[in-house]
Protein backbone atom coordinates (compact mmCIF):
# COMPACT_ATOMS: atom_id res chain seq x y z
CA UNK A 1 0.00 0.00 0.00
CA UNK A 2 2.73 2.38 0.94
CA UNK A 3 4.57 1.50 -2.21
CA UNK A 4 1.47 2.13 -4.23
CA UNK A 5 0.82 5.48 -2.62
CA UNK A 6 4.40 6.55 -2.99
CA UNK A 7 4.39 5.56 -6.62
CA UNK A 8 1.20 7.48 -7.13
CA UNK A 9 2.47 10.62 -5.47
CA UNK A 10 5.78 10.44 -7.30
CA UNK A 11 3.89 10.02 -10.51
CA UNK A 12 1.77 13.06 -9.81
CA UNK A 13 4.77 15.15 -8.88
CA UNK A 14 6.82 14.17 -11.90
CA UNK A 15 3.67 14.57 -13.95
CA UNK A 16 3.48 18.13 -12.70
CA UNK A 17 6.86 18.82 -14.24
CA UNK A 18 5.77 17.21 -17.48
CA UNK A 19 2.64 19.30 -17.41
CA UNK A 20 4.66 22.45 -17.03
CA UNK A 21 6.56 21.79 -20.20
CA UNK A 22 3.54 20.37 -21.96
CA UNK A 23 1.77 23.66 -21.39
CA UNK A 24 4.14 25.56 -23.61
CA UNK A 25 3.72 22.94 -26.23
CA UNK A 26 -0.04 23.17 -26.15
CA UNK A 27 -0.08 26.95 -26.23
CA UNK A 28 1.92 27.03 -29.42
CA UNK A 29 -0.19 24.36 -31.01
CA UNK A 30 -3.38 26.03 -29.93
CA UNK A 31 -2.38 29.32 -31.46
CA UNK A 32 -0.66 28.30 -34.62
CA UNK A 33 -1.25 24.62 -35.17
CA UNK A 34 2.46 24.00 -35.00
CA UNK A 35 4.11 21.16 -33.15
CA UNK A 36 6.98 22.83 -31.43
CA UNK A 37 9.83 20.39 -31.49
CA UNK A 38 12.09 22.94 -29.85
CA UNK A 39 10.18 22.86 -26.58
CA UNK A 40 12.98 21.03 -24.83
CA UNK A 41 15.44 23.67 -25.92
CA UNK A 42 13.19 26.46 -24.73
CA UNK A 43 13.26 24.78 -21.35
CA UNK A 44 17.00 24.47 -21.61
CA UNK A 45 17.36 28.17 -22.29
CA UNK A 46 14.98 29.03 -19.47
CA UNK A 47 16.95 26.87 -17.09
CA UNK A 48 20.29 28.33 -18.11
CA UNK A 49 19.11 31.90 -17.99
CA UNK A 50 17.70 31.56 -14.52
CA UNK A 51 20.74 29.64 -13.35
CA UNK A 52 23.01 32.28 -14.79
CA UNK A 53 21.09 35.11 -13.17
CA UNK A 54 21.07 33.28 -9.88
CA UNK A 55 24.78 32.70 -10.02
CA UNK A 56 25.31 36.46 -10.18
CA UNK A 57 23.71 36.70 -6.79
CA UNK A 58 20.16 37.77 -7.59
CA UNK A 59 17.44 36.24 -5.38
CA UNK A 60 15.69 33.30 -6.98
CA UNK A 61 12.25 34.86 -7.20
CA UNK A 62 13.69 37.84 -8.98
CA UNK A 63 15.61 35.49 -11.25
CA UNK A 64 12.45 33.76 -12.28
CA UNK A 65 10.81 37.08 -12.90
CA UNK A 66 13.70 38.24 -15.03
CA UNK A 67 13.67 34.92 -16.85
CA UNK A 68 10.07 35.55 -17.72
CA UNK A 69 10.89 38.95 -19.12
CA UNK A 70 13.78 37.58 -21.12
CA UNK A 71 11.43 34.82 -22.29
CA UNK A 72 8.98 37.36 -23.61
CA UNK A 73 11.73 39.17 -25.45
CA UNK A 74 13.04 35.93 -26.89
CA UNK A 75 9.54 34.95 -27.94
CA UNK A 76 9.09 38.16 -29.84
CA UNK A 77 12.53 37.90 -31.39
CA UNK A 78 11.91 34.33 -32.43
CA UNK A 79 8.77 35.34 -34.22
CA UNK A 80 10.37 38.36 -35.86
CA UNK A 81 13.45 36.58 -37.05
CA UNK A 82 12.43 33.03 -37.75
CA UNK A 83 8.71 32.74 -38.16
CA UNK A 84 7.47 35.94 -39.69
CA UNK A 85 8.13 34.96 -43.25
CA UNK A 86 6.52 31.61 -42.74
CA UNK A 87 3.06 32.88 -42.01
CA UNK A 88 0.77 31.19 -44.45
CA UNK A 89 3.32 28.58 -45.44
CA UNK A 90 2.78 24.86 -45.01
CA UNK A 91 2.66 23.80 -41.40
CA UNK A 92 5.30 21.17 -41.86
CA UNK A 93 7.81 23.80 -42.87
CA UNK A 94 7.08 25.69 -39.72
CA UNK A 95 7.52 22.52 -37.72
CA UNK A 96 10.85 21.95 -39.34
CA UNK A 97 11.85 25.46 -38.45
CA UNK A 98 11.26 24.51 -34.86
CA UNK A 99 13.68 21.66 -35.39
CA UNK A 100 16.18 24.15 -36.76
CA UNK A 101 15.48 26.37 -33.80
CA UNK A 102 16.16 23.51 -31.47
CA UNK A 103 19.63 23.15 -32.92
CA UNK A 104 20.13 26.86 -32.82
CA UNK A 105 19.03 27.31 -29.23
CA UNK A 106 20.94 24.34 -28.01
CA UNK A 107 24.11 25.35 -29.79
CA UNK A 108 23.86 28.91 -28.62
CA UNK A 109 23.15 27.98 -25.01
CA UNK A 110 26.05 25.57 -24.99
CA UNK A 111 28.30 28.11 -26.63
CA UNK A 112 27.51 30.65 -23.96
CA UNK A 113 27.40 28.45 -20.92
CA UNK A 114 29.38 25.39 -21.84
CA UNK A 115 28.18 21.82 -21.65
CA UNK A 116 29.33 20.85 -18.19
CA UNK A 117 26.71 20.14 -15.56
CA UNK A 118 25.61 23.15 -13.56
CA UNK A 119 24.03 23.31 -10.13
CA UNK A 120 22.31 26.03 -8.19
CA UNK A 121 24.76 27.05 -5.54
CA UNK A 122 23.63 27.49 -2.83
CA UNK A 123 20.56 25.35 -3.39
CA UNK A 124 17.35 27.30 -3.68
CA UNK A 125 15.02 24.68 -2.35
CA UNK A 126 15.80 22.53 0.65
CA UNK A 127 17.27 19.22 -0.41
CA UNK A 128 15.46 17.36 2.35
CA UNK A 129 12.08 15.95 1.56
CA UNK A 130 8.93 16.95 3.35
CA UNK A 131 7.33 14.01 5.08
CA UNK A 132 3.57 13.78 5.05
CA UNK A 133 2.50 10.66 6.84
CA UNK A 134 4.34 7.89 5.15
CA UNK A 135 4.84 9.91 2.00
CA UNK A 136 7.85 11.95 1.22
CA UNK A 137 7.85 14.79 -1.25
CA UNK A 138 10.77 16.78 -2.54
CA UNK A 139 10.02 20.48 -2.09
CA UNK A 140 10.91 21.46 -5.66
CA UNK A 141 8.30 19.11 -6.98
CA UNK A 142 5.77 20.49 -4.62
CA UNK A 143 6.43 24.02 -5.76
CA UNK A 144 6.32 23.17 -9.38
CA UNK A 145 3.02 21.50 -8.83
CA UNK A 146 1.65 24.70 -7.36
CA UNK A 147 3.06 26.68 -10.27
CA UNK A 148 1.37 24.33 -12.71
CA UNK A 149 -1.97 24.88 -11.09
CA UNK A 150 -1.41 28.63 -11.14
CA UNK A 151 -0.48 28.62 -14.80
CA UNK A 152 -3.45 26.44 -15.60
CA UNK A 153 -5.83 28.93 -14.13
CA UNK A 154 -4.11 31.88 -15.75
CA UNK A 155 -3.99 30.35 -19.20
CA UNK A 156 -7.51 28.99 -19.15
CA UNK A 157 -8.73 32.41 -18.15
CA UNK A 158 -6.68 34.01 -20.86
CA UNK A 159 -8.10 31.85 -23.58
CA UNK A 160 -11.60 32.03 -22.31
CA UNK A 161 -12.01 35.64 -21.40
CA UNK A 162 -9.73 37.72 -23.51
CA UNK A 163 -10.19 38.92 -27.04
CA UNK A 164 -6.74 37.73 -27.97
CA UNK A 165 -7.34 34.31 -26.51
CA UNK A 166 -10.15 33.67 -28.94
CA UNK A 167 -8.37 35.22 -31.88
CA UNK A 168 -5.35 33.07 -31.24
CA UNK A 169 -7.40 29.93 -31.45
CA UNK A 170 -9.02 31.21 -34.59
CA UNK A 171 -5.59 31.71 -36.09
CA UNK A 172 -4.71 28.11 -35.51
CA UNK A 173 -7.92 27.14 -37.24
CA UNK A 174 -7.58 29.25 -40.34
CA UNK A 175 -4.75 31.69 -40.67
CA UNK A 176 -6.00 33.33 -43.82
CA UNK A 177 -9.43 33.96 -42.45
CA UNK A 178 -7.99 35.34 -39.23
CA UNK A 179 -5.76 37.65 -41.21
CA UNK A 180 -8.69 38.86 -43.23
CA UNK A 181 -10.39 39.93 -40.03
CA UNK A 182 -7.46 41.95 -38.86
CA UNK A 183 -6.03 39.46 -36.43
CA UNK A 184 -2.33 40.04 -36.56
CA UNK A 185 -0.89 36.63 -37.08
CA UNK A 186 2.58 37.88 -36.26
CA UNK A 187 1.34 39.03 -32.93
CA UNK A 188 -0.33 35.72 -32.30
CA UNK A 189 2.85 33.85 -33.10
CA UNK A 190 4.93 36.17 -30.99
CA UNK A 191 2.52 35.91 -28.09
CA UNK A 192 2.30 32.18 -28.23
CA UNK A 193 6.05 31.80 -28.35
CA UNK A 194 6.40 34.22 -25.52
CA UNK A 195 3.97 32.24 -23.44
CA UNK A 196 5.84 29.08 -24.31
CA UNK A 197 9.10 30.70 -23.33
CA UNK A 198 7.55 31.81 -20.07
CA UNK A 199 6.31 28.38 -19.11
CA UNK A 200 9.58 26.89 -20.28
CA UNK A 201 11.52 29.44 -18.30
CA UNK A 202 9.66 28.70 -15.10
CA UNK A 203 9.77 25.00 -15.82
CA UNK A 204 13.46 25.11 -16.59
CA UNK A 205 14.30 27.06 -13.46
CA UNK A 206 12.48 24.54 -11.31
CA UNK A 207 13.80 21.62 -13.23
CA UNK A 208 17.38 22.73 -12.88
CA UNK A 209 16.84 22.68 -9.16
CA UNK A 210 16.07 19.01 -9.18
CA UNK A 211 19.21 17.41 -10.53
CA UNK A 212 21.21 20.28 -11.87
CA UNK A 213 21.21 21.15 -15.52
CA UNK A 214 23.03 20.21 -18.63
CA UNK A 215 22.16 19.50 -22.21
CA UNK A 216 20.02 16.55 -21.20
CA UNK A 217 17.25 18.81 -19.98
CA UNK A 218 16.35 19.33 -23.61
CA UNK A 219 15.41 15.70 -23.70
CA UNK A 220 12.31 16.44 -21.66
CA UNK A 221 10.80 18.33 -24.53
CA UNK A 222 10.00 15.02 -26.15
CA UNK A 223 9.20 13.03 -23.09
CA UNK A 224 6.15 15.21 -22.65
CA UNK A 225 4.81 14.50 -26.12
CA UNK A 226 2.65 11.60 -24.92
CA UNK A 227 1.25 13.88 -22.27
CA UNK A 228 0.29 16.48 -24.82
CA UNK A 229 -1.29 13.94 -27.10
CA UNK A 230 -3.15 12.26 -24.30
CA UNK A 231 -4.72 15.51 -23.19
CA UNK A 232 -5.49 16.57 -26.73
CA UNK A 233 -3.12 18.81 -28.62
CA UNK A 234 -5.02 22.00 -28.00
CA UNK A 235 -6.36 21.61 -24.55
CA UNK A 236 -4.67 23.38 -21.68
CA UNK A 237 -6.31 21.33 -18.95
CA UNK A 238 -5.54 18.35 -21.16
CA UNK A 239 -1.83 19.09 -20.96
CA UNK A 240 -2.00 19.10 -17.19
CA UNK A 241 -4.08 15.97 -16.89
CA UNK A 242 -1.97 14.34 -19.57
CA UNK A 243 1.23 15.20 -17.79
CA UNK A 244 -0.02 13.76 -14.55
CA UNK A 245 -1.49 10.65 -16.11
CA UNK A 246 1.71 9.95 -17.97
CA UNK A 247 3.72 10.58 -14.83
CA UNK A 248 1.61 8.13 -12.87
CA UNK A 249 1.63 5.61 -15.65
CA UNK A 250 5.39 5.70 -15.94
CA UNK A 251 5.90 5.26 -12.28
CA UNK A 252 3.34 2.53 -11.93
CA UNK A 253 5.01 0.66 -14.74
CA UNK A 254 8.35 1.27 -13.18
CA UNK A 255 7.18 -0.14 -9.91
CA UNK A 256 5.07 -3.04 -10.97
CA UNK A 257 5.99 -4.02 -14.49
CA UNK A 258 9.75 -3.79 -14.79
CA UNK A 259 10.13 -6.94 -12.76
CA UNK A 260 7.98 -8.90 -15.12
CA UNK A 261 9.10 -7.39 -18.40
CA UNK A 262 12.62 -6.18 -17.94
CA UNK A 263 14.16 -3.50 -20.00
CA UNK A 264 13.31 0.13 -20.54
CA UNK A 265 9.63 -0.61 -20.27
CA UNK A 266 9.00 2.36 -18.05
CA UNK A 267 9.31 4.98 -20.73
CA UNK A 268 7.74 2.81 -23.36
CA UNK A 269 4.54 1.75 -21.66
CA UNK A 270 3.04 5.23 -21.88
CA UNK A 271 3.44 5.01 -25.62
CA UNK A 272 1.84 1.62 -25.85
CA UNK A 273 -0.97 2.74 -23.61
CA UNK A 274 -1.49 5.85 -25.69
CA UNK A 275 -1.60 4.02 -28.97
CA UNK A 276 -4.38 1.89 -27.56
CA UNK A 277 -6.08 4.84 -25.94
CA UNK A 278 -6.14 6.72 -29.20
CA UNK A 279 -8.00 3.93 -30.88
CA UNK A 280 -10.88 4.94 -28.65
CA UNK A 281 -10.27 8.64 -28.51
CA UNK A 282 -8.35 9.63 -31.60
CA UNK A 283 -8.09 13.22 -30.42
CA UNK A 284 -6.92 12.68 -26.91
CA UNK A 285 -9.08 13.68 -24.02
CA UNK A 286 -10.14 17.12 -25.09
CA UNK A 287 -8.47 17.84 -28.38
CA UNK A 288 -10.32 19.39 -31.25
CA UNK A 289 -12.13 16.73 -33.19
CA UNK A 290 -11.10 16.69 -36.81
CA UNK A 291 -13.94 17.98 -38.88
CA UNK A 292 -14.58 15.87 -41.90
CA UNK A 293 -17.55 17.40 -43.45
CA UNK A 294 -18.17 17.72 -47.13
Amino acid sequence: MELFLMTLVTGIMVGGIYALIALGWVVIYKCSGVLNLAMGELTLIGAYVSWWLYSTGIPFVVCVFLTIIIGIILGILTERIFLDRLIGQPLLSVIMVTVGLSFFFRGTAMFIWGPSTKTFHPPVFPQESIHVGMLSITPVFFWSFLVVIGLLIALVAFFKYTRWGLSMQATADDETAALSLGVSVRFVYAASWSIAFITAGIGGALLANINGLNINIAHLGLVVLPAVIFGGLNSIPGAIVGGIVIGILENMTGTYLTQIVPGGIKTIVPFIFLVIFMMFRPHGLWGWVRIERV
Binding site: I87, S167, Q169, A170, A177, A178, L179, S180, L181, G182
Partner: protein, 268 residues
Protein backbone atom coordinates in the same frame (compact mmCIF):
# COMPACT_ATOMS: atom_id res chain seq x y z
CA UNK B 1 -15.10 57.84 -63.78
CA UNK B 2 -13.50 60.68 -61.90
CA UNK B 3 -10.74 59.93 -59.50
CA UNK B 4 -11.81 62.40 -56.87
CA UNK B 5 -13.69 61.15 -53.87
CA UNK B 6 -12.60 57.65 -54.51
CA UNK B 7 -11.77 55.75 -51.37
CA UNK B 8 -9.91 53.00 -53.16
CA UNK B 9 -7.84 53.46 -56.20
CA UNK B 10 -6.27 50.52 -57.94
CA UNK B 11 -3.96 51.61 -60.67
CA UNK B 12 -2.76 49.33 -63.32
CA UNK B 13 -1.70 46.51 -61.04
CA UNK B 14 0.03 43.41 -62.10
CA UNK B 15 -0.11 40.36 -59.87
CA UNK B 16 2.02 37.28 -59.96
CA UNK B 17 1.68 34.04 -58.09
CA UNK B 18 4.82 32.14 -57.14
CA UNK B 19 6.76 34.79 -59.01
CA UNK B 20 5.91 33.16 -62.31
CA UNK B 21 2.17 32.94 -62.81
CA UNK B 22 0.82 36.21 -64.03
CA UNK B 23 -2.79 36.54 -62.90
CA UNK B 24 -3.52 40.24 -63.34
CA UNK B 25 -2.09 42.11 -66.27
CA UNK B 26 -2.89 45.69 -65.51
CA UNK B 27 -6.13 46.24 -63.68
CA UNK B 28 -7.39 49.64 -62.65
CA UNK B 29 -10.41 50.00 -60.45
CA UNK B 30 -11.61 52.97 -58.57
CA UNK B 31 -14.22 52.84 -55.84
CA UNK B 32 -16.12 55.95 -54.78
CA UNK B 33 -16.77 56.48 -51.14
CA UNK B 34 -20.18 55.24 -50.14
CA UNK B 35 -20.87 53.38 -53.35
CA UNK B 36 -21.28 49.79 -54.32
CA UNK B 37 -18.97 48.83 -57.13
CA UNK B 38 -19.28 45.47 -58.82
CA UNK B 39 -16.59 43.41 -60.44
CA UNK B 40 -17.84 40.90 -62.96
CA UNK B 41 -16.10 38.39 -65.09
CA UNK B 42 -15.81 34.79 -66.06
CA UNK B 43 -14.01 32.31 -63.94
CA UNK B 44 -10.30 32.76 -63.79
CA UNK B 45 -10.59 36.33 -64.84
CA UNK B 46 -8.86 37.46 -61.69
CA UNK B 47 -11.67 38.88 -59.61
CA UNK B 48 -10.67 37.14 -56.43
CA UNK B 49 -7.08 38.00 -57.12
CA UNK B 50 -7.95 41.65 -57.36
CA UNK B 51 -9.72 41.57 -54.02
CA UNK B 52 -6.86 39.69 -52.43
CA UNK B 53 -4.43 42.22 -53.77
CA UNK B 54 -6.38 44.93 -52.01
CA UNK B 55 -6.77 43.10 -48.73
CA UNK B 56 -3.18 41.90 -48.67
CA UNK B 57 -4.13 38.24 -48.51
CA UNK B 58 -2.17 37.52 -51.66
CA UNK B 59 0.90 37.00 -49.55
CA UNK B 60 -0.53 33.88 -47.97
CA UNK B 61 -0.75 32.31 -51.41
CA UNK B 62 2.71 33.37 -52.45
CA UNK B 63 1.32 36.07 -54.69
CA UNK B 64 2.57 39.61 -55.08
CA UNK B 65 1.66 42.89 -56.64
CA UNK B 66 4.58 43.38 -58.96
CA UNK B 67 3.55 46.55 -60.69
CA UNK B 68 1.13 49.42 -60.32
CA UNK B 69 -0.27 50.72 -57.09
CA UNK B 70 -3.20 50.43 -54.76
CA UNK B 71 -4.18 53.47 -52.78
CA UNK B 72 -6.65 53.58 -49.97
CA UNK B 73 -7.65 57.05 -48.89
CA UNK B 74 -4.53 58.30 -50.54
CA UNK B 75 -2.15 55.87 -48.83
CA UNK B 76 -0.41 53.17 -50.75
CA UNK B 77 -1.34 49.86 -49.24
CA UNK B 78 -0.27 47.22 -51.67
CA UNK B 79 2.06 44.58 -50.32
CA UNK B 80 1.60 45.71 -46.75
CA UNK B 81 0.55 43.24 -44.12
CA UNK B 82 -2.97 41.94 -44.32
CA UNK B 83 -3.66 42.62 -40.67
CA UNK B 84 -2.56 46.23 -41.04
CA UNK B 85 -4.82 46.69 -44.01
CA UNK B 86 -7.69 45.19 -42.10
CA UNK B 87 -7.05 47.62 -39.29
CA UNK B 88 -7.65 50.46 -41.70
CA UNK B 89 -11.12 49.12 -42.27
CA UNK B 90 -10.73 47.07 -45.41
CA UNK B 91 -12.27 43.71 -44.82
CA UNK B 92 -12.51 40.92 -47.33
CA UNK B 93 -15.02 38.14 -47.29
CA UNK B 94 -12.99 35.31 -48.75
CA UNK B 95 -14.58 32.92 -51.17
CA UNK B 96 -14.80 29.30 -50.15
CA UNK B 97 -16.56 29.77 -46.80
CA UNK B 98 -13.53 29.90 -44.64
CA UNK B 99 -15.11 29.69 -41.23
CA UNK B 100 -13.13 28.80 -38.14
CA UNK B 101 -14.34 25.25 -38.22
CA UNK B 102 -13.60 24.32 -34.66
CA UNK B 103 -15.02 27.38 -33.02
CA UNK B 104 -18.69 27.84 -32.32
CA UNK B 105 -20.74 30.11 -34.52
CA UNK B 106 -20.82 32.80 -31.92
CA UNK B 107 -17.10 32.59 -31.31
CA UNK B 108 -16.57 32.98 -35.02
CA UNK B 109 -18.50 36.18 -34.87
CA UNK B 110 -16.59 37.31 -31.82
CA UNK B 111 -13.32 36.82 -33.63
CA UNK B 112 -14.79 39.10 -36.25
CA UNK B 113 -15.16 41.69 -33.54
CA UNK B 114 -11.46 41.49 -32.86
CA UNK B 115 -10.87 45.03 -33.99
CA UNK B 116 -13.92 46.46 -32.26
CA UNK B 117 -13.96 48.21 -28.98
CA UNK B 118 -15.03 45.59 -26.54
CA UNK B 119 -18.26 47.28 -25.49
CA UNK B 120 -19.85 47.11 -28.87
CA UNK B 121 -19.40 43.40 -29.42
CA UNK B 122 -22.92 42.76 -28.27
CA UNK B 123 -24.32 45.37 -30.63
CA UNK B 124 -22.48 43.68 -33.43
CA UNK B 125 -23.89 40.31 -32.51
CA UNK B 126 -27.36 41.75 -32.35
CA UNK B 127 -26.95 43.26 -35.77
CA UNK B 128 -25.75 40.02 -37.31
CA UNK B 129 -28.42 37.96 -35.63
CA UNK B 130 -30.94 40.46 -36.80
CA UNK B 131 -29.87 40.00 -40.37
CA UNK B 132 -29.36 36.27 -40.11
CA UNK B 133 -31.76 34.76 -37.60
CA UNK B 134 -30.66 31.35 -38.77
CA UNK B 135 -27.27 32.00 -37.24
CA UNK B 136 -28.90 32.82 -33.96
CA UNK B 137 -30.46 29.37 -33.91
CA UNK B 138 -27.10 27.84 -34.61
CA UNK B 139 -24.99 30.09 -32.40
CA UNK B 140 -23.78 27.31 -30.12
CA UNK B 141 -22.93 24.84 -32.89
CA UNK B 142 -19.43 24.14 -34.07
CA UNK B 143 -19.05 26.13 -37.23
CA UNK B 144 -17.50 23.26 -39.14
CA UNK B 145 -20.72 21.30 -38.86
CA UNK B 146 -23.30 23.80 -40.01
CA UNK B 147 -24.54 23.63 -43.56
CA UNK B 148 -22.79 25.23 -46.48
CA UNK B 149 -25.26 28.05 -46.79
CA UNK B 150 -25.13 28.72 -43.10
CA UNK B 151 -21.39 28.95 -43.33
CA UNK B 152 -21.80 31.49 -46.08
CA UNK B 153 -24.03 33.56 -43.82
CA UNK B 154 -21.48 33.22 -41.11
CA UNK B 155 -18.59 34.59 -43.13
CA UNK B 156 -20.64 37.54 -44.26
CA UNK B 157 -21.87 38.11 -40.73
CA UNK B 158 -18.38 37.81 -39.39
CA UNK B 159 -17.17 40.50 -41.75
CA UNK B 160 -19.96 42.78 -40.58
CA UNK B 161 -18.70 42.38 -37.03
CA UNK B 162 -15.53 44.20 -37.97
CA UNK B 163 -17.35 47.46 -38.71
CA UNK B 164 -15.65 47.75 -42.06
CA UNK B 165 -15.26 50.96 -43.99
CA UNK B 166 -14.63 49.17 -47.22
CA UNK B 167 -16.07 45.73 -47.62
CA UNK B 168 -14.70 43.43 -50.25
CA UNK B 169 -17.32 40.79 -50.89
CA UNK B 170 -16.30 37.74 -52.85
CA UNK B 171 -19.41 36.00 -54.07
CA UNK B 172 -21.62 36.55 -51.06
CA UNK B 173 -24.62 34.79 -52.53
CA UNK B 174 -22.88 31.57 -53.39
CA UNK B 175 -24.85 28.58 -52.25
CA UNK B 176 -27.64 30.49 -50.65
CA UNK B 177 -31.28 29.61 -51.08
CA UNK B 178 -33.24 31.97 -53.33
CA UNK B 179 -35.00 33.65 -50.49
CA UNK B 180 -31.73 34.31 -48.77
CA UNK B 181 -30.15 35.68 -51.88
CA UNK B 182 -32.80 38.35 -51.97
CA UNK B 183 -32.16 38.90 -48.35
CA UNK B 184 -28.44 39.18 -48.63
CA UNK B 185 -28.67 41.69 -51.39
CA UNK B 186 -31.08 43.77 -49.47
CA UNK B 187 -28.61 43.56 -46.61
CA UNK B 188 -25.84 44.76 -48.88
CA UNK B 189 -28.05 47.54 -49.98
CA UNK B 190 -28.90 48.46 -46.40
CA UNK B 191 -25.30 48.30 -45.26
CA UNK B 192 -24.44 50.69 -48.00
CA UNK B 193 -27.31 53.03 -47.36
CA UNK B 194 -27.56 52.92 -43.62
CA UNK B 195 -24.15 51.99 -42.34
CA UNK B 196 -22.40 53.91 -45.10
CA UNK B 197 -20.09 51.06 -45.93
CA UNK B 198 -18.38 51.22 -49.27
CA UNK B 199 -18.54 47.90 -51.02
CA UNK B 200 -16.52 46.27 -53.74
CA UNK B 201 -18.57 43.33 -54.85
CA UNK B 202 -17.55 40.30 -56.83
CA UNK B 203 -20.58 38.36 -57.84
CA UNK B 204 -21.55 35.80 -60.40
CA UNK B 205 -25.18 36.66 -60.29
CA UNK B 206 -24.77 39.60 -62.62
CA UNK B 207 -28.38 40.65 -62.49
CA UNK B 208 -28.30 41.19 -58.81
CA UNK B 209 -24.85 42.65 -58.86
CA UNK B 210 -25.83 45.25 -61.40
CA UNK B 211 -28.96 45.91 -59.44
CA UNK B 212 -27.26 46.91 -56.26
CA UNK B 213 -24.15 48.49 -57.70
CA UNK B 214 -23.80 51.91 -59.17
CA UNK B 215 -20.73 51.20 -61.20
CA UNK B 216 -19.27 48.00 -62.53
CA UNK B 217 -16.13 46.63 -64.11
CA UNK B 218 -15.88 43.67 -66.38
CA UNK B 219 -12.74 41.66 -65.99
CA UNK B 220 -11.51 39.17 -68.53
CA UNK B 221 -8.29 37.27 -68.38
CA UNK B 222 -6.61 39.58 -65.98
CA UNK B 223 -7.60 42.77 -67.74
CA UNK B 224 -10.44 45.23 -67.39
CA UNK B 225 -12.32 45.09 -70.65
CA UNK B 226 -15.22 47.35 -69.90
CA UNK B 227 -16.43 49.63 -67.19
CA UNK B 228 -19.41 51.82 -66.90
CA UNK B 229 -22.32 52.81 -64.74
CA UNK B 230 -24.43 49.85 -63.94
CA UNK B 231 -27.49 51.24 -65.72
CA UNK B 232 -25.54 51.63 -68.88
CA UNK B 233 -24.14 48.15 -68.69
CA UNK B 234 -27.60 46.83 -68.16
CA UNK B 235 -28.44 48.10 -71.60
CA UNK B 236 -25.29 46.82 -73.24
CA UNK B 237 -26.00 44.06 -75.71
CA UNK B 238 -22.89 42.01 -74.92
CA UNK B 239 -23.54 42.19 -71.26
CA UNK B 240 -27.10 41.19 -71.78
CA UNK B 241 -25.98 38.28 -73.78
CA UNK B 242 -23.17 36.96 -71.69
CA UNK B 243 -23.92 38.00 -68.19
CA UNK B 244 -27.59 38.58 -67.90
CA UNK B 245 -28.99 36.04 -70.26
CA UNK B 246 -31.65 38.43 -71.40
CA UNK B 247 -30.89 38.73 -75.05
CA UNK B 248 -32.70 35.57 -76.04
CA UNK B 249 -36.26 35.84 -76.96
CA UNK B 250 -38.40 35.10 -73.98
CA UNK B 251 -39.08 31.60 -72.76
CA UNK B 252 -35.61 30.24 -73.22
CA UNK B 253 -35.20 27.11 -71.23
CA UNK B 254 -32.03 25.61 -69.89
CA UNK B 255 -33.20 22.39 -71.41
CA UNK B 256 -32.51 23.63 -74.87
CA UNK B 257 -29.21 25.10 -74.06
CA UNK B 258 -27.24 22.31 -75.54
CA UNK B 259 -28.17 23.27 -79.00
CA UNK B 260 -25.92 26.19 -79.17
CA UNK B 261 -22.49 26.74 -77.80
CA UNK B 262 -21.29 30.21 -77.32
CA UNK B 263 -17.75 31.26 -76.99
CA UNK B 264 -16.82 34.80 -76.98
CA UNK B 265 -14.31 36.72 -75.01
CA UNK B 266 -13.59 40.36 -75.35
CA UNK B 267 -9.89 40.18 -75.36
CA UNK B 268 -7.73 37.21 -75.01
Amino acid sequence: MDQNGSILNIQNIEVRYHEVILALKGVSVSVQRGRVVALLGANGAGKSTTLKAVSGLLATEDGKVTDGSIEYEGRRIHNSHAADIAKQGIIQVIEGRKVFEHLSVEDNLKVGAHLRKSGSVKDGLDLVYHYFPRLYDKRGETAGFISGGEQQMLVVGRALMTEPKLLLLDEPSMGLAPMLIQEIFSIIHKLNEEEKITILLVEQNAKLALTVSSYAYILENGRIVMDDYSDKLWENEDIKDFYLGLSDKGGKSFRNIKHYKRKKRWLT
